[in-house]
Symmetry: C2
Subunit: 405 residues, 2 copies
Amino acid sequence: MAVNLIEPTHVHNIEGVRLATASAGIRYAGRDDVVLIEIAPQSNVAAVFTQNKFCAAPVILSVNHLKVCVPHYLIINAGNANAGTGQQGMNAAVATTKAVAEFTNVKPQQVLPFSTGVIGQVLDASKIETKLPALAENMSEDNWIPAAKAIMTTDTVSKAYSKKINIAGKDIAITGIAKGSGMIQPNMATMLSYVATDMEVPNKILQTLLTQSVSQSFNAITVDSDTSTNDACVLIATGKSQTSYETLTSEEQDQFKHALCWVMRMLAQAIVRDGEGATKFVTVCIEKASHLKQAKAVAYSVANSPLVKTALSASDPNWGRIMAAAGKCDDSDLQLSDASLSINGVSIMERGELTANYTEQAGKQAMQADEIEIKIQLNLGDVQHTVWTTDLTHEYVSINADYRS
Amino acid sequence: MAVNLIEPTHVHNIEGVRLATASAGIRYAGRDDVVLIEIAPQSNVAAVFTQNKFCAAPVILSVNHLKVCVPHYLIINAGNANAGTGQQGMNAAVATTKAVAEFTNVKPQQVLPFSTGVIGQVLDASKIETKLPALAENMSEDNWIPAAKAIMTTDTVSKAYSKKINIAGKDIAITGIAKGSGMIQPNMATMLSYVATDMEVPNKILQTLLTQSVSQSFNAITVDSDTSTNDACVLIATGKSQTSYETLTSEEQDQFKHALCWVMRMLAQAIVRDGEGATKFVTVCIEKASHLKQAKAVAYSVANSPLVKTALSASDPNWGRIMAAAGKCDDSDLQLSDASLSINGVSIMERGELTANYTEQAGKQAMQADEIEIKIQLNLGDVQHTVWTTDLTHEYVSINADYRS
């Protein structure tokens, strides 16, 4: 049921990043569910992780490893999140990284583990270990698309985006993959996403670029207001293009930042388009707020309101629910008596009064689209924030009442 | 589909409070939809209202009127919330109170208007005005049950509770009605609720008693995390029992407070039991938190999680979703590595580790019940908070994709 989302068929390779996939039978039969990513020496790697206080063992381990050195390998499995598994889960995560380290002849701290899938079951590390020879044999720069497929859980479409830009006379490539469909309201990170570029970027700047891009992509989406225990986003800069970010002009840096943000936003939006049960892709744009926290609060309040989301699924221009959701925000500066509201350009409310020529018919017609933009102007300041979300459908209930995730 | 909720058949009358209902055809045909409540002179009246910043015209007007004098009449309509209706809506609310005031020969400020139902349509005050003679003729202390029915919107069962207690040798009665089923996460108030007692209570103390009781009843429930534009809870003390709260001993005051809280909690829980599409009545009990804000945040985070609520609807002991929902709280003091979890007394997690003898079978059996208690001990302090909620079902989606509320 993904909304205007098609399977990716081609992305640019990133020199210095090789990937391999294998079928370890962790949960699924007849499909790959393990990915090994190899990062060339001299690369830099930045990452952000879920802020969920019940985060999974691999998240804790990856955070610790990243403090020690630059990772050489990322090992990812789908089907089991290895979350809520206590000491046994941590043992499994350690065993996985140790096995990869021994097989590839690196230090365990140079391996970051990632898991996604069912919460509460200890991961069987041996299933991954036995696949290491096959993974090693299979390594290729050409495997981004198979990797995007192998990390899927409830996703119905795999997610991969890529951009090539010419900066300072050289071609620079950025390629990323992501997975996610439910338990989506990233907080400082996202579901799993791996983005790489052949630009040369020092580690500290890379982390800043990642944080900035995440705030306008993965940290601006919600499907169901639930933040995952396993969210992580990794940004790799291999430097193989021999182009150094630091030597670029300010305009050229902006060009790179813009391209990076585009890839990450396309991935983030793809997660929403593939949101569990989604039939609408919804942009909630809050304008003229007095501060960013307010704009975000109102945006998420609308984007996560079950009453707004069910109205969206029925193509019902029930704008009262939208304004009620905006108004429930716990923000003492917020007042809505001067607010304006439009849906897909149809003005419904102007500065607190119903728009004179608004008709229910016009509202209904606007709501028929499968891409909906809800725009609220608070008229309290000049700050804006946009988040992307889905509707709430019967299919969402079916997926989550039937699927143990 | 209400969970273990039956129609009330009898409540105690409250001397000094008369009620009448009429069918004004505001939205519904063939049922009463307007209630007039008359409060005897010398009574005191306290009220709390929604904190939604997009609150309805009658809420704004009632708040203003209450500042001026003690109300003599409450006029309530169902079917139209008169919210989001700008100046026209305010005109309609003013016209309604003015009509009641003229008909009953009181000042307009002595009349409080309340509306519930569809948002965004201006109330036709004349429909209520024409029913005033019928309402006046119909006034009786015996009309609590018809009034409970007349204020219903998506409710499937009317809500009325009553208690008689003997204090200081005198019978004291407390009776209340409420409506609500969707757009339920009250913030400082609730959907509509009217509670009365014949105890004599000074106004300031009455307001404190109301606030305290609300915090443990209407402000501890959620169906869908959406706070209504029209929430209000009114507490009337007529003093007709000739028993003064102020002259009671501390134990007797506690006895009264306890009874008042019981009535309000039963009403609040009835709203949850009748929650839109509900098949489960769920108690989320957070224990051993370090502070109340934390306990509340974790409780609502679990109670409002769509993934927890869909698992509940499927009787799926998917405890990973519960802990993930707890962990997504934005509370820097929160850590869950030492937390314990049980469902209906079945221990699942003890201090961060899976309970040794826990089986999926035991979890499934516990989840079959239609009354579920989720208990999380944070083991961080000694504060506890309980909220009540529902599951999230296909029926919820159907109700809210079909019904314009």
